[in-house]
Subunit: 419 residues, 2 copies
């Protein structure tokens, strides 16, 4: 079945808010096995909205509209759908009663907050539709079954739309589907997108069910493998051999199989598994590596402290980097990175450590040491590995990539020592 999304709201076209609804609903459609070919945004304009609905009716089985269900005169989604389908708007007594109750509850009968005339507009429903309860606001949702099409109207605020979709729309749409869809995500670090894709071009070109889709993230490549079958077990059976083949081809470059795993959560898991404790020493990334690790809830078991040693003095004071090393090789050098990581491990009394020193730019580059030159050092049980990187991008990109490659370096060192 084909679905189509229409987001309604001039605020979206002005760039006042990011359209997270479209992302959420796209994902849900994929999970439900609905195919999405088009997604569009129109402003609060009846003619253009009607046109968008009419176009969607020619190419989709399910049309999901978000926004434009509020009480103001700008809110015209219900009116436009009724017009296109040639149906009447009629008063829904149940909705009317709920709006009354909502105002009573929310404003404690404060006379300043009576139900204003335009609030009653929200009690109007499209003739013959299913009214969907809104537990987080006054605008109900609506499902209209019209010839072989389904039109779903949802409120715009994500805090109302998301729970309404999960509570009511998801189960409704699930019932309409015969097939079960199942996905696996294979996450890779250390190879570029085009190289990764070339390596499995034969699989991608031969794909039908399951499908293989690559997603490039900063410093990473993810492959999503999706199968459609009569039941979950069948779908998984289709996916497993493809995942196995990717594991065979990419080996340790794969850091996780699973949507919910991140590079930091995998690293923290490995540290926990082998009872390792970690310290960080950061120069050009200035705390971003530690900040990202700390994003893993429960990281305190393996991570207690980190050093931000932006100045040479701090590198000497906290990490015991030798003054002559800094003089002879500079702060951005393999030698300094190596002393930083060993010093951090010693100062924090840990068996694993990471150190980053580099030139993130835009200033500070020279011919010998250009912007983007980064040294990352890993320490594990006494042994040190230092890698040199030449990273491209702005200051922010260079720092983000450094953080990713640092986590990946220690991950690989742990695998090499323990597995």
């Amino acid at each position: 079945m084909v679905a189509e999304l229409i987001s309604v709201g001039t605020e979206l076209l002005l760039g006042n808010i990011v359209n997270t609804n479209a992302c959420f609903l796209s994902r849900k459609c994929a999970e439900l096995g609905y195919t999405l070919y088009h997604e569009s945004t129109v402003g609060d304009n009846e003619a253009r909205l009607c046109e968008a609905i009419n176009t969607a009716l020619t190419r989709a089985d399910v049309i999901i509209l978000t926004g434009g269900l509020g009480p103001t005169s700008d809110d015209i989604t219900k009116e436009a759908v009724a017009k296109v389908l040639n149906r009447q708007l009629v008063m829904d007594e149940e909705s009317r009663r709920k709006i009354e109750e909502y105002f009573k509850f929310r404003y404690h009968n404060n006379p300043k907050h009576t139900v204003s005339e335009n609030n009653w507009k929200q009690a109007l429903k499209i003739e013959g539709c299913i009214v969907v309860n809104n537990n987080n606001g006054t605008a109900p949702g609506y499902i209209v079954e019209h010839n072989s099409r389904i039109i779903i109207l949802l409120p715009g605020p994500p805090s109302e739309m998301v729970p309404m979709f999960e509570e009511s729309i998801m189960p409704y749409l699930q019932k309409k589907q015969n097939k079960v869809i199942h996905s696996a995500m294979v996450k890779i670090c250390g190879i570029g997108e085009s190289r990764a894709e070339t390596d499995i071009m034969d699989l991608i070109e031969g794909q039908t069910n399951p499908t293989i889709a690559p997603y490039a993230k900063s410093g990473e490549v993810h492959f999503s493998i999706t199968a459609s079958a009569d039941n979950e077990e069948e779908a998984k059976k289709l996916i497993t051999p493809v995942v196995d083949e990717l594991v065979k081809r990419f080996g340790n470059n794969i850091y996780a199989i699973g949507e919910e795993e991140s590079l930091e959560s995998v690293l923290v898991k490995l540290l926990k598994q082998y009872r390792l404790t970690l310290a960080t020493a950061e120069s050009c990334t200035g705390g971003l590596l530690a900040g990202r690790l700390v994003n893993v809830s429960g990281v305190s078991e393996v991570f207690g402290e980190g050093f931000i040693t932006y100045s040479n003095e701090a590198k000497i004071k906290y990490l015991n980097v030798k003054e002559e090393t800094l003089k002879q090789y500079g702060a951005v050098s393999s030698q300094t990175a190596s002393e930083m990581v060993a010093g951090a491990a010693k100062a924090a009394s840990v068996n694993a450590a990471l150190a980053i020193t580099g030139i993130a730019g835009p200033d500070g580059g020279t011919e010998q040491k250009p912007v983007g030159l980064v040294y990352i050092a890993g320490y594990l049980n006494g042994s040190v590995t230092v890698n040199e990187y030449h990273l491209k991008g702005n200051r922010q990109n260079i720092r983000e990539l450094s953080v990713i490659y640092a986590m990946d370096l220690l991950r690989r060192m742990i695998l090499a020592q323990y597995e």
Copy 2:
């Protein structure tokens, strides 16, 4: 002039990424005085993309496409535009040379990383187009002037698209307008969006030229004041009294006037101005505050070191927090925050410091100390201020807000002592 956006990418239709490009470009179009009626997303499918381009050509003067310029076989935006406009794809020698250089620079002639065949696809251009330089990746952008229409092709990754738009597309589009559009951005921290908007509702309701548009960011509110006039001087004349009025109403809550200023750049500027040096001590934010400060190029003048003291032991060891303080009041307390900040200032021998300790969740909250409770302490020339915050959102939101409020606290302390 009417603009239209087309985002290209199956990953958007699968909900794998949020379309922040559409929001950014919508905003830029509004700033440039282009009207946006439609914005749509299509997958990596030639027929549907061609249809979307054809539809846009019937109703827009400027069509901006993002995504689908990469090296893989999925990337078909250039091919689709060429097909619709009936133009050829030809090799652009300059692009070819740049891709070669990029690989040489990035991989240091490492034979493992040669340019793969599909990378050359990125050197093809649409016959007769303007090639737009990409300083942050391998895919150039393109501007095609076709009959009275302008078609602009931009790479999908925001880290490449945003700088390319600002450096090259913005000036190009500005020249195509008869009117000069000028904007000022007033950035506020410390008041919520609805309160800020209420405070200037009379100005917003009376607006025509200039217009006032609020943009809510995490922890901040920005007002963009935009005027259209025959020349820049006239436009500025229209904007100045509005900016003055906002300054009168919001006072020190305004941290910057200007698009390019960030809270961290303003704070670093103040530190430099008053010859202050800064240290940071972070618990729940685990380095994010320092990481954000270090995003300011040239921060080394005022920031040399920071402490990530996630564990109690580290708080004692590096910041000299008293063991009985931790026992009596807990790690998340006004007392601990106060000792952390004073300890950091002393250890690093600086005259300004910031400390953050809090419960970012999702676990670790209690009835007395719920998730979202954060203490932020500021130190300036011997005096300490500690603020208690009750922040809403997930772990990531709570940590981001903590970083913003910490920077804002020190900014206000400096203004109070020096201005």
